[in-house]
């Protein structure tokens, strides 16, 4: 099966700094892929290149076999590429329901309608309410987004991206800053996403990474250090040296990690 998302020799320079260095990457439909690497490895830059927030210096990006390298962000989104942001990018004055109704309307191509009020299309509203229910946001769906607790905002960040039923979803540290007690919620939500959706997770938390990923890419200094299955990554001496050394190797001896690897 051809990859749903692919990059060939992707480069991004900011002046003299190389943020993405010759990255060739392929993602199969339904993948559960994690992108890890130390701080400053260029993970978020890579996601920004994929989603169209940044334009690469050179190289090519294919979405479903189509060259989308020069496409603007909104066009890529329309073609089935969705993302979440490490720092919340929400509409503070909207309610969660309005947010999801808009995202779904846009995905269905009816967001440019201007004669009838929002909410008259009950199929969209019901689908939006359904999604909010599944993402544990039903109780707050009529409140102002800006007034929601941080954990709920993080869930909404995922909900917006899922609303368009994308083929590829890029999750940029979905649990960043979420208190320990609410982390499980985020994990459960990510675990319950449809199987055919290809997911890329960027995360620092190794527990989360190894519970989630079936394959990994390790980025260092903008380039791919190594790719492989979780067990290959754990046992790779370069990874231990460059990356895991920084994050305490003993983390890998935790019992549930072994279960995830098995």
């Amino acid at each position: 099966m051809p990859p749903v998302l692919e990059t060939k020799a992707l480069h991004k320079n900011f002046g003299g700094l190389t943020a993405t260095n010759n990255v060739t990457f392929a993602l199969a439909a339904g993948a559960r892929h994690a992108l890890i690497g130390p701080n400053g490895a260029g993970k978020t830059t890579f996601v920004n290149l994929l989603s169209g927030v940044l334009t690469p210096t050179s190289g090519t990006i294919y979405l479903d076999g189509t060259d989308v390298t020069r496409w603007p962000a909104h066009k890529r989104a329309g073609a089935g590429l969705a993302r979440t942001f490490q720092i919340n990018q929400l509409f503070a004055d909207f309610t969660p329901l309005e947010t999801i109704v808009l995202a779904m309307s846009q995905a269905k191509g009816i967001a440019s309608r201007w004669l009838r009020p929002v909410g008259t299309d009950t199929s969209v509203v019901n689908a939006a309410a359904d999604l909010l229910q599944r993402l544990m946001l039903a109780d707050v769906m009529h409140l102002r987004v800006g007034s929601l607790p941080y954990g709920k905002q993080r869930l909404l960040e995922i909900a917006i991206a899922v609303a368009s039923e994308p083929k590829v979803l890029l999750l940029d540290e979905p649990a960043a800053g979420v208190p320990e007690s609410e982390r499980e919620q985020i994990l459960d939500v990510v675990a319950a996403l449809p199987g055919e959706m290809a997911l890329v997770l960027i995360e620092h938390d190794m527990d989360l990474v190894f519970r989630f990923a079936r394959s990994l890419t390790v980025l260092v200094l903008g380039g791919v250090l190594v790719e492989g299955s979780p067990s290959e990554i754990v046992n790779d001496p370069r990874v231990r040296q460059v990356y895991l050394g920084e994050l305490h190797v003993e983390g890998f001896s935790r019992p549930h990690t072994g279960a995830a690897l098995g």
């Binding site: 989104a77 509409f91 909207f94 846009q106 967001a111 917006i160």
Partner: protein, 344 residues
């Protein structure tokens, strides 16, 4: 249509009811429009003032669509106002006061097309850049248009203004009387129709996507909203609205001077919108009423201090009522609504 009147909270009939309820007409809105009509009998001697208010309100409304909903800061709406005024003025003049070429309604359509077209062209200039860049670009376009109006004397009459603007009776039926009664009714009807369209627009999915762009452009792009296209559309619509406001002025005063292109008018209209409350539609109407009423009372008593009073009002507004008059009204409504909700 949306003309269902409701002042009671919607019984929860599905999650969509919450959204649709916002688009319903409420009693205070209906009362405001009835009051505007009733003014014909309440104060028959002030038609000219009311007409001016209606026109200013329409201009402020055009800014609200662009600034209040799409977040485009503009000081150049006067350019479209002036283009509309000259278009309608020229149509009335060269139509020789005969139907249909000098018909005022046709003049409005012509003004909307010309102003909308120039708005469409200049919209590409305001797409890029921050608020400050947009402010400068819109101001720059307005200054260019103003200077063109001055130089193209053979069309515009230059500093002498456009003489001989004699529109035909409205739709061939209603003549502009010397008291300005029909002029006021005509402006009010135009304002109402355009207001209803604007109201539908901002409550629609299209309006929601504009608010999304204003709220967070990165996220708007990430969910697939074609940001540039949306901004071009609303800027064009805003320009057409301003053009129609200008046309109303030309037709009802039967004269067009270079003053229609002045920077002061853009600034006044923006001020009116801020007074009334940005992003509410009604802020444009209430702001225009408050501004003109204030001017009428203060400037006729002490004309030399008008600037002082205006400045004082602005300072008080910024200190105590950020949301303008509409913001104050909303805060009052919430204060009174809350205890009632607690009892039930």
């Amino acid at each position: 249509m949306t003309s269902v009147i409701a002042d009671t909270p919607i019984a929860s009939a599905g999650p969509g009811a919450h959204l649709v309820a916002r688009a319903r007409w409420r009693w205070p809105e209906v009362l405001l429009w009835l009051f505007a009509i009733a003014l014909i009998w309440i104060a028959p001697s002030r038609y000219l003032l009311f007409n001016e208010i209606a026109i200013l309100a329409l201009l402020a409304l055009s800014i609200d669509l662009v600034l209040g909903y799409a977040g485009i800061v503009t000081l150049g709406q006067g350019a479209f106002f002036g283009l509309g005024a000259y278009t309608a003025g020229l149509m009335a003049k060269h139509g020789m006061g005969t139907f249909p070429w000098s018909d005022p309604v046709l003049g409005l359509i012509g003004a909307a097309l010309v102003a909308g077209f120039i708005g469409f062209l200049s919209s590409f200039l305001v797409l890029r850049g921050s608020d400050l860049t947009r402010l400068m670009v819109t101001l720059g376009v307005a200054l260019i248009v103003q200077e063109l109006g001055n130089k193209l004397e053979w069309i515009t009459g230059g500093a002498d203004g456009l003489q001989g603007v004699l529109p035909a009776p409205i739709l061939g039926l209603f003549d502009f009387d010397i008291y300005g009664r029909n002029a006021y009714l005509y402006s009010l009807c135009t304002l109402f129709v355009l207001f209803v369209i604007a109201r539908a627009l901002v409550n629609s999915p299209f309006g929601l996507s504009l608010r999304a762009i204003k709220g967070n452009v990165t996220r708007a792009r990430a969910i697939g909203i074609p940001v540039e296209r949306r901004l071009v559309v609303i800027y064009t619509v805003g320009a057409a609205y301003a053009g129609i406001a200008g046309a109303l002025l030309a037709q009802t005063t039967q004269f067009v001077s270079l003053d229609v292109l002045s920077f002061e008018r853009s600034a006044d209209a923006l001020l009116i919108l801020v007074f009334g409350g940005v992003g509410t539609l009604y802020g444009a109407l209430i702001g225009a009423i408050a501004f003109k009423a204030m001017y009428d009372v203060l400037a006729s008593a002490t004309p030399e201090y008008w600037g002082f009073w205006l400045g004082l009002a602005l300072v008080l507004l910024v200190l105590f009522a950020r949301g303008g008059i509409m913001g104050l009204l909303r805060a009052l409504q919430e204060r009174f609504a809350r205890p009632r909700a607690e009892r039930t």
